[in-house]
Every structure is written in C-alpha cells, then in structure tokens.
C-alpha cells in the first residue's frame, strides 16, 4: 500500500517564514503549496483538496 501524501497549504505574507516552513515540511515529504494572501489562498483551496491549511490571521489587506 502506498503512503498517503499529506497536502498542506501555507497562507502567510512573510516570505522568509513561509518558504522556510515549506522547505521543512517538504523534507518530511509533505506536499506543500504557498499562498501569500487570503485571495490566492481561497483560489488554491478551490483547485486542490488540502488536508491541512496553516493560515496567518493578521495579514495586510
């Protein structure tokens, strides 16, 4: 039986934070997508069914 790949969406406007966190998750074989604002986060959620969404609550805009 193949291992299930867990899909994670990171929504955060802090580039350095989100790219490092993505790299750490990818090293652990998570499938990671990044959105830098709420709107692109919503658009990504409608394209892919994510298992986990890590969302920053206080983003500009």
């Amino acid at each position: 039986m193949s291992k299930k790949i867990i899909k994670v969406l990171l929504v955060d406007d802090e580039d350095d934070f989100v790219s490092t966190l993505a790299e750490r998750l990818e090293l652990r074989e998570y499938y990671v997508k990044i959105a830098k604002d709420g709107e692109s986060g919503i658009s990504k959620v409608s394209d892919i069914s994510f298992d986990i969404v890590i969302l920053d609550l206080m983003m500009p805009g």
Binding site: E14, D16, F17, T20, L21, E23, R24, L27, M58
Partner: protein, 217 residues
C-alpha cells in the same frame, strides 16, 4: 484608561512586538531547517564541525524561544489599553507582570517570588491601573530594601468580597518601622494610593512582616 501618552506607547509597543514575533518565528524556523538538514545527513553529524554547528543551532533556538517569551509577554501587556474594564485573575496577572518587571528589581539585587495558590480570586477592574498599582507596590518596597532582600507575593484565599495581594519582605536587617516610615514618604507611595483610589482599592504598609497589602473589591 485616559492617559494619552500611555495609550500611544502601548499601541506602538503592541505593533512592534507583533513584528518582532514574526522575526523570531523566522529565526526559529531557519534554525529548525538547519537542524533538519544536519540530522538528515548522518555524515554531517559524525564530524566535529557538524556537532559544533548543531550546538550553535541549539543556542540560536534557545535564545529565539527566550525572545518569543518576552515579546509575547510584552505584546500581551501592551494590550492592557484596549479595554477600560476587564476580568482580572489576580495570580495570572501578577505572574505575567512579574515576568516582565523581574529584571528591574533584580538589578537592585532583590529577588521576587510569587507563590502559587489553588484557586486565584478575580476582579473586574481597569487592567492598566491595576497592574500599575501592583508594580508600584513592588517599586516602593524595592526602594527601601537592600540587596539580597526577598519580596514574596502571596494571593490569599478570598474571605468575603475583599481580594488581596500581599507583598512580604524577608532576608533584610533594616528595622520594619524604619522601612515603613521611608515608604510612606516616597512620592511613589502617594502615586500608589492615588491609583488605588481610582480603582476602589486600598494599600496599607505592614510591619510584621514588613510589606504591603493591596486589597480590592
């Protein structure tokens, strides 16, 4: 809270500490990534430079976590201007305040200790004035005590509607009557009593043991 300069200072502090939390989160994550990379390659860990690097990363993480503790505490503290009246848990609030002001008292060589209590009483009051009154009680005691003295903070179980924060000093050889006279002459003591009047609280100097009792309904 009506003081505009305090309000302004707190608003700026809230914003800056929020940004500092972001910075510390990036430092923590980058240190974590470096650690991950090192752990993923056993070869890196087996040589001395690998273990030295791991030691450096651990130190960065430790200091970043320390920074997070302070900036989160300061951020929480700066939000005391957001509401004129809030529910205040005496022990929890005193503990958080003491964490932030510990260094000021420690610089004078005085140790601050807070005792845990099973069920801490709560009050509804102005959070800014309440915390300022608690801080000033500590400041007044620290002003008259000498290095190596200990200020113990106790929150007794509630008897009636009056809730208390008791400040007791120990490990000093100054006569308590002299200390209490000195405190009563401090401009800070006058400020403390004025603040207490504004929040329907009371402060009294005790001599056995030497200290201050802050009480509020």
């Amino acid at each position: 809270m009506n003081n505009n300069s305090d309000w302004f200072l707190c608003k700026v502090t809230a914003s800056v500490t929020h940004e500092m939390q972001n910075i510390l989160a990036i430092i923590k994550e980058n240190a974590g990534l470096m650690e991950d990379i090192l752990y993923m390659s056993q070869e890196n860990l087996s040589d001395s430079s690998g273990s030295r690097l791991l030691g450096c990363i651990k130190s960065i993480k430790k200091q970043a976590y320390r920074g997070v503790e302070f900036t989160s505490g300061l951020n929480r503290f700066s939000h005391i201007v957001d509401h004129a009246q809030t529910h205040i848990n005496l022990l929890d609030t005193a503990k958080k305040l003491i964490f932030l002001i510990q260094r000021i008292v420690n610089q004078k060589g005085i140790q601050l200790l807070i005792e845990d209590c099973e069920k801490s009483p709560s009050v509804t009051s102005d959070p800014f004035l309440f915390q300022k009154a608690i801080y000033l009680c500590i400041e007044c005691l620290a002003e008259v005590l000498q290095a190596k003295a200990v200020i113990r903070i106790v929150i007794p179980a509630v008897s009636g509607s009056l809730k208390k924060v008791v400040f007791e000093s120990s490990n000093h050889d100054i006569p308590p009557s002299l200390c209490s006279n000195k405190i009563s002459l401090l401009p800070k003591w006058l400020e403390t009593t004025e603040i207490c009047n504004q929040i329907s609280a009371n402060v009294e100097i005790t001599t056995k043991p030497f200290g201050i009792i802050f009480s509020i309904k």
